[in-house]
Symmetry: C2
Subunit: 132 residues, 2 copies
């Protein structure tokens, strides 16, 4: 499976990162503002911001020694797209049929060879076996 999804969704799977995102919805924030609000150490903030930026959800901007963070609209749109893809998918009926068929054929083979059905042989297969 494509780890693209993981890189993006992982950003949302930690309470501190979610709080950062929540703060950023109120507009651009500098690192020190975030540090003040969350009660974590500076290295910990750095760690989380790296993950958020790597996911594309957050954008960073340097000004002298400081760093400003803001929501990256493009990255969020991409996350939306990935989520949508997982939610509704390709409706690939053909692929689904092929998979089911291969399971049925395997089961039929077993029966022909006088073997007992394998464990976890699946409902569909068993039903077909009964029907056939």
């Amino acid at each position: 499976m494509n780890n693209e999804y993981l890189r993006v969704f992982r950003a949302f799977s930690d309470e501190r990162r979610l709080r950062v995102l929540e703060m950023l919805t109120q507009g651009e924030q500098c690192a020190c503002a975030l540090l003040e609000e969350l009660s974590i150490s500076q290295p910990t903030l750095s760690y989380h911001m790296k993950i958020l930026c790597a996911s594309g959800i957050v954008r960073e901007r340097h000004v002298g020694p400081w760093k400003y963070y803001s929501i990256n609209t493009e990255g969020c749109a991409y996350a939306q797209k990935l989520l949508q893809k997982l939610s509704f998918g390709g409706e690939d009926v053909e692929m689904r049929f092929i998979r089911l068929l291969s399971r049925l054929l395997r089961a039929a083979e077993d029966i022909k060879n006088g073997l007992r059905p394998a464990k976890n042989a699946c409902c569909s297969c068993l039903c077909e076996r009964v029907a056939g």
Copy 2:
């Protein structure tokens, strides 16, 4: 922060769960089909399916001793809504202003008392201090 977000997004933050979701986009699948495809033990599948169902992303259906899983469209729509909320947020300019103001006031207080600026006093404060 509301853990609602965490419960939903955590569902997407594991490779095995993402693979399950990917399979479910091709239509309803029974537990044994998932077990066959992923190379994990039965208790592990059970563990992941519980998380997916608890998040509302996946729906389960019993048929005799078997269990069928499918994408829960409502749950996904909800996830979309949460993601959108985090992406664009409330645009609460007022809140942002209040926070900035309180930081400035604190800095001003420090200066009045002849104190040096605290570490991590933040760019905004420093700028204002220079300007004022």
